[in-house]
């Protein structure tokens, strides 16, 4: 399609006028004249708010998929850390079961349990849980339990605990969390499921007692959740 040169010329002229207008309007002297006016102030504040919301909204929407993908990768990696890859031959993210967990105070009313199966038989389960009462907010954790109820591993997925003090629950910062391996409701009494300060077997950190205490308690509750649904989980 060919554009009529006359129309094109007219369009270009119009554009030039608009450009000239914007340029003049943005001139510091013109803006200085406008700034004390109430309408201008209202407009500018609204304009900035609108721009910021649009910018954040667009960024949020356009990155949501990527972030979800990154989180899935992280989840897969964490699942592999708490359940050894030799124990299963299925896709953990696809093979799930949802059980009610409202009574166990682990952050969610329903918990998705990832089932590790080897030749169709459940060898271990794995699920995310939350210690809702950490020192500065919820601590997101993940646990792997074998079919007999022994812990295969616990990891912290994300938390907001004090850097340098409470963040020793991360495996990258300290080996503390590895102490859970092999523990179960059978080989420790309920009283032993606590930090040493409270008479239990788990260390607390210098300067941060609440973080490990709440992590231990939430881990204990998640074991109870497993026990309550053990029959259903290992023979789905």
């Amino acid at each position: 399609m060919k554009i009529d040169p006359v129309i094109l010329q007219r369009l270009q002229d119009k554009m030039a006028i608009y450009r000239e207008f914007v340029k003049n309007w943005l001139e510091p002297s013109n803006l200085a004249r406008l700034r004390p006016k109430l309408e201008f102030q209202t407009g500018i504040l609204a304009g900035f708010a609108l721009l910021a919301s649009i910018l954040l909204g667009v960024t949020n929407c356009s990155t949501q998929g990527t972030i979800q993908q990154r989180l899935d990768e992280d989840l897969k990696k964490s699942l592999q850390e708490v359940v050894p890859v030799t124990l299963y031959d299925n896709d953990l993210l696809q093979d799930t079961l949802t059980i009610p967990s409202a009574d166990y105070n682990i952050g969610a009313n329903e918990t998705t349990v990832y089932l590790a199966k080897k030749s169709g038989k459940v060898t271990a389960v794995c699920f995310k849980f939350i210690a809702p009462d950490g020192y500065s907010g919820a601590i997101n954790m993940i646990i792997g339990i074998d079919r007999d109820g022994n812990i295969l591993g616990v990891r912290v997925l994300s938390h907001k605990e004090t850097p340098g003090l409470g963040d020793k629950i991360e495996v990258a910062k300290s080996t503390w969390i590895l102490n859970f391996v092999g523990r179960s409701l059978d080989n420790l009494t309920p009283a032993q499921w606590a930090v040493k300060k409270d008479g239990g077997v788990f260390d607390q950190f210098a300067g941060a007692t609440i973080t490990p205490r709440k992590s231990v308690q939430a881990t204990y509750r998640s074991l109870q959740l497993f026990k309550a649904h053990q029959a259903q989980l290992i023979n789905p």
């Binding site: 510091p28 803006l31 500018i44 900035f48 910021a52 960024t59 972030i67 963040d167």
Partner: protein, 229 residues
Amino acid sequence: MLLSETYRKIAIDGIWNNNIVFGQNLALCPLLAVTGTATNGLGMGIATLVVITASNGLISLTRHLIPNEIRIPIFVLLIAALVTLVDILMNAWAHELYKVLGLFIALIVTNCALLGRAESFASKQPVKQALWDGFMMGLGFTLVLVALGAAREISSAGTLFANASLLLGESFKFLEVTVIPNYKGFLLMALPPGGFIMLAFLIVGKRLIDQKLALRKVQHAVLSEPLTE
């Protein structure tokens, strides 16, 4: 001379004379919260450096549009939007770094130094100077964070730059050193009171150096003055 007089003055102000912590006594909340170790200090410093440079640039760019009466809400809006933007973008595109630095980024909103620079510098200066000022202020802040973090880490745990490889990558493993082997640990320095105590020592040190410098300047001036009868 590498830099012109104006830029040199901004640089010296940012790093020493009008340093965010030493000169303006701002940003104490994030400062004391994260400087348990030198690595954490560095992480917070880098994150702040990026955001303060960007916020200074953005505010300077729009300074003619911002009426005096409503400048504070606009500054807060811009800074908060910027911090959130950095947070989201890093989560998506630099996920590994985000897992380490993510903890600090939200804390930047509590950093009144950003608002301080917007108010006292960026809203009155051209973009280039404002960017340079933001960068230098951020650099000065980073240096204080690392110094304070290092001092507290050595006195509380006997190590320096522990876990630096998590933040900077495996090639920076050499930074992690144990300064005092078999150190029993001194918990107070890792806690917030230790932060205040160590900060006091650093400020005293800075004042002493300033005093020495001032004295030397006076002596120099007296000596170089032409003798009159």
